[in-house]
């Protein structure tokens, strides 16, 4: 019994170490963003001046707005395409369906460099200059599978009976979708949108190839990093970090096996 206990403690200690490894770097970024000096040893005091400097950097602010715009547009397109695609793949049967599913997943599974380069090769061959539109194309490529697979797993749990019942009771397809299906997948859609936005928000690997002078925030920061890690880089990193965390917290309420439970518990309205 005691050796079992001992093993349990060793495992827990190991787990604690892994969590430490996962979170210490993030904490360090946060600490550095408030440090008046560039070193952490002998760090004295606390300053917000790097954050103030961020707001004075017009290019950085513009890049931030660009990121929000691209994220919003990519998520909007992905929700429409991904939801339609999820119902199509879940409900339709046709030869080559599993191939279709795999192909949808490719932009997410394949290394980002491959998607970025292949889209770049095509748009260059077509003579299309790099623009916000090309960045958006890149982001639509990987946000669609994110949304589609989130919605598909909700559809799988929902089963086809509710729609059949609505149809039997005389609802037309539009009414069935609006009054039965949509309320049931609503939380999945919100969760998928948040997830897709989070992914789009800090995507760089694909964006890097498709960005011209109109830069998104990660591409802009990547440019800043060429001149070393300035305190400003830490400040913007800290903001991104906290924003991502907020998005994930919000998302976790809407997705997963616990979403329905959450919905049932949530007060009306």
């Amino acid at each position: 019994m005691s050796s079992r206990r001992k093993r349990g403690i060793v495992l827990k200690a190991y787990g604690f170490l892994v969590y430490f490894f996962l979170y210490l770097p993030l904490l360090i970024v946060l600490v550095f963003s408030f440090s008046p000096t560039k070193t952490i040893v002998g760090m004295s005091g606390f300053t917000l001046k790097w954050y103030q400097e961020l707001f004075r950097d017009g290019n950085l602010m513009a890049a931030f707005v660009h990121t929000l715009l691209i994220g919003g547009a990519a998520v909007g397109i992905a929700i429409v395409l991904g939801t339609a695609g999820a119902f199509f793949v879940s409900r339709a049967s046709f030869p080559g369906k599993s191939v279709f599913r795999t192909l949808v997943l490719l932009p997410y599974i394949l290394p980002g460099i491959l998607m970025g380069i292949s889209i770049l090769v095509v748009i260059k061959a077509l003579g299309i200059p790099l623009s916000p539109l090309t960045v958006l194309l890149g982001h639509v490529s990987f946000t669609v599978p994110v949304v589609m697979f989130q919605i598909m797993s909700r559809i799988a749990r929902m089963g086809p009976n509710y729609q059949s019942a609505a149809m039997d009771l005389g609802a037309n397809p539009v009414q069935t979708f609006w009054y039965v299906t949509l309320p049931m997948i609503r939380t999945a859609i919100i969760g998928a949108a948040l997830l897709a936005f989070t992914v789009s928000f800090d995507e760089i690997v694909i964006s890097y190839f498709l960005t011209g002078t109109w830069m998104t925030l990660p591409v802009y920061i990547y440019g800043m990093m060429r001149y070393g890690l300035s305190p400003k880089v830490y400040a913007i990193s800290a903001i991104i970090l906290l924003l991502s965390l907020a998005l994930i917290m919000l998302m976790s309420r809407y997705t997963g096996r616990y979403a329905e439970v959450y919905r049932a518990r949530a007060p009306k309205g």
Binding site: K38, T39, F94, L114, S118, L195, S244, I248
Partner: protein, 287 residues
């Protein structure tokens, strides 16, 4: 089983997805493949079919050497990712009762935290004036900063392992959660200790998740070019950087396309080989 095809009206709903797939997946990948048989003349890409891009890769040992080194490093990263991620998933799935949901979230949150921020964090930790060096110098243990921490394969391995842990955690955790707990009770009732139960029941049943996680980590590591660029220095050039440089200053897109296609072939082969064995669900987008 009889194959059934849905009526045309249902199939019509697949058109938007099919258009998306054509425009953003099939045409780009297909055209990249075509480009890999072209060549550069002056500063133009000439549509003259040639095999010399592939010939260059297979004859010049420098290129295949970089690929071999990258695969080896990616293998090490995948192993490290499993060594960190598997015990964590086991701990959360089997050993924690209260706060399991919170620990689950804590394990996958890093997945969604900005990739760039995590790179910045590791440069900060491993740098010459970084956290580790400053702490060691300040404590008097060393006088000169350790230089083996940054700008080499060690730094790449640490950072990519860090990135890969949640990717290993999710499929392993999903597999562990599926193991019926009464089998474990039966094993215990029959006198098997925890170790025996783990080796003969838990490990084999979670193997598909383990394989999936391992493959994810390997593919992520093999395709990365930003981490080697930021933390790898000159000795840490990986296959991704080689591809990247063909589109940058080397300006040899057809050769870059050929290298991309080689990476695609490796990735798809690995995914294809393991899809029968590993679990496809519980992947990294799954709930």
């Amino acid at each position: 089983m009889e194959k059934r095809i849905s009526p045309p009206r249902t199939l019509l709903r697949g058109v938007p997805m099919a258009v998306w797939m054509l425009l953003l997946v099939l045409v780009p990948l297909g055209y990249t493949f075509v480009t890999s048989f072209f060549q550069v003349e002056g500063l133009q890409i000439a549509a003259k079919v040639t095999l010399k891009n592939y010939a260059l890769f297979f004859t010049d040992p420098m290129y295949s050497g970089i690929l071999a080194k990258s695969m080896l490093l990616s293998l090490a990263i995948a192993v490290l990712g499993v060594l960190a991620g598997y015990p964590l998933a086991y701990l959360v799935s089997f050993r924690v009762r209260r706060g399991r949901q919170a620990l689950f979230m804590l394990s996958i949150i890093p997945l969604w935290v900005s990739y760039l921020v995590r790179i910045i964090a590791w440069r900060t930790i491993l740098g010459n004036k970084g956290v580790i060096n400053s702490a060691l110098v300040a404590s008097g243990l060393i006088h000169e900063p350790l230089t083996f921490l940054l700008y080499n394969r060690f730094a790449i391995a640490v950072t990519l392992t860090y990135i890969c842990i949640p990717f290993v955690f999710i499929p392993v955790y999903t597999a562990l959660e599926k193991i019926p707990r009464n089998i474990l009770e039966a094993s215990s009732d029959l006198g098997a200790g925890e170790m025996r139960t783990f080796v003969s029941i838990v490990l084999p049943l979670s193997l598909p998740g383990l394989v999936t996680g391992f493959i994810f980590a390997f593919i992520i590591a093999l395709g990365d070019y930003i981490i080697p660029q930021q933390l790898g220095g000159t000795q840490g050039i990986m296959f991704g950087n080689l591809i990247w440089s063909q589109f940058g200053f080397a300006f040899n897109w057809p050769f870059g396309a050929a290298l991309s296609f080689i990476l695609l072939a490796i990735t798809v082969t690995i995914l294809g080989l393991t899809s029968r064995f590993g679990s496809t669900e519980g992947g990294f987008i799954g709930e």
